[in-house]
Symmetry: C2
Amino acid sequence: MNKDHNLAVLCKALGHPARVAILRHLLQVDRCICGDIVNILPLAQSTVSQHLKQLKEAGLIRGEIEGPCICYCADKNRLAELKNLITAL
Amino acid sequence: MNKDHNLAVLCKALGHPARVAILRHLLQVDRCICGDIVNILPLAQSTVSQHLKQLKEAGLIRGEIEGPCICYCADKNRLAELKNLITAL
DNA sequence: CACGCTTATCGTTAATTTACGATCATACTG
DNA sequence: CAGTATGATCGTAAATTAACGATAAGCGTG
């Protein structure tokens, strides 16, 4: 509802280099990925999982269960929303 | 240097509603302001000062001494940089 | 059903953030 | 020079975040 808060939530989610890297990677690969991210980043699996959770809570990514692993992908609409909010500042 | 880090720094600075509000206000008023921000926000002067410091450290605003008070204004170039970094994601 | 793989969650610790009041520094005003 | 206004900084407490290892939960495979 509140614009400031909405933008702050989105920005906060991207306020950590690891989460920026995760989002960028998901956008590049387009098709989602699961444990690959753990391999890319120099972080423990549980830490990556927490970052994913934060990105998910901000709506920037989505995760779908696909067999044994969970497939993540970026939500481009939400990213566009961020873009718009910043542009509209 | 590092893109992810640069974007994270900018986003982190806007990762709090108060700082979004400050930046928005500075952009609206164009000409800078000092203690006005304290009046607008429901926060103590020292807290506002800290938020201003964080925005300044991220390069999103600048402060110039003007007589007794300090005059803040948004750095539109830096804001454009943020816009570009997000667009380039 | 037992095992292995994948990912989430729990518990914990260290570090950072947020917020405040109090104090300090600086610059005008009388 | 004394007083006032403005805003930064200090010290502190509470809350949140970041990171890890350990554990749990869900799904296939044999």
